[in-house]
Symmetry: C2
Subunit: 208 residues, 2 copies
Amino acid sequence: MPREIDRRAARTRKALHEALLALMLRKGYEALSVQDIIDEADVGRSTFYAHYTGKEDLLRSGFQMLREELKEAQSATRAGAEASHDDPLGFSTAMFEHAARYADHYRTMIGGRGGAVTESEIRLILSEMVRQELPPTLHGEAIPRDFVVQFIVGAFLTALNWWFERKPKLSPSQVDAMFRRLTLEGLSHLIGGEHRQVGRPTASRDTD
Amino acid sequence: MPREIDRRAARTRKALHEALLALMLRKGYEALSVQDIIDEADVGRSTFYAHYTGKEDLLRSGFQMLREELKEAQSATRAGAEASHDDPLGFSTAMFEHAARYADHYRTMIGGRGGAVTESEIRLILSEMVRQELPPTLHGEAIPRDFVVQFIVGAFLTALNWWFERKPKLSPSQVDAMFRRLTLEGLSHLIGGEHRQVGRPTASRDTD
DNA sequence: AAAATCCCGAACAAGCTGTCCATTACCCTA
DNA sequence: TAGGGTAATGGACAGCTTGTTCGGGATTTT
């Protein structure tokens, strides 16, 4: 029986992916050359091109792996299946916490430093997540489902980015609370003429 | 009196900016080389570097000009100054209409094709706009002003992008209505427990 | 018209990109 | 464990890009 894949090839691919990630952390994606990557991975030039067509191909393949892993992990956890549709933002809490733990990675992925590809790949992954948590029917059909999905994903990324760039000291749950409040209730509650009292333990002052 | 700037220099800069814009429309920003730009502009290589340090510098300088123009146009229109704070999304309607008229330009700027620089420059411009329209005090201080600004800008860009990519047939006012509804009222209105039946005359299915 | 400024074109070193090849090292399986 | 198959290597290649430098020529400004 032929093994899934040749061990050498697997090693090479792994080395390249790790090199890419490491380099992105310290130089950002755009600034990288194929040269940098193969140096870091200690892999021959021709070997690289035997596996990938360029650095973008390498990056994409990394995300594809990630997506497949997530898909599996998800169908595995599908045991406790419900509670989803109550809360269309169910993903966010875990996500913010995860981001806090791997702040370095998220920073490079989310900020401009990951490049356009990273950005859109992440949007894809999040979109899939959100689409599943979103109830199948929306009131009145006035707003297309897909629009809502994009709206949520965009808002989440905005929150994440703002957190890292401006208030990295906040706790995940604080950011999460703000994100949910704004996304669920909208702006109207913040600016109406009514002075509704909110007993919120305001975390920290705004510095603009 | 020394003229503001040498006529030749001005011509050169103009030619370069126009070349950049034209090329971005057909190839996207990332794919461009300085070579392409000076060919299109019919300008000598050394001349280019006498004015800008690279293509990014050229792009940035273009946005800076734009920002200054907008700033002037704004302080000029500041005659009818109020009505702002009633509607924190006042900018959107005009913006969507403008985008419809110059769809090609917006497409290249907003989608990935404009590159990270364009993206962040646009966010900057919009942020300034939104910040001014946003009432100075927000209820309860629970959510920092800047967070709200970013939220709005992100939602607007999301709407714009979705419009171009998925439903370009919609009119500006339709998109505007959806954008405002979602941003002002949030999701909560869309997902209540009530099961309202809708005889959906859905135009086209969500295709992912 | 003279002086100041700008543009041009060409040439340069340095770097990156993909692609080839012959050779070597490794892996898989029988 | 031996041998055929497969992958990795290093080097060399043409073609492209980037910035920089120069002197001569053209245009503007004063």
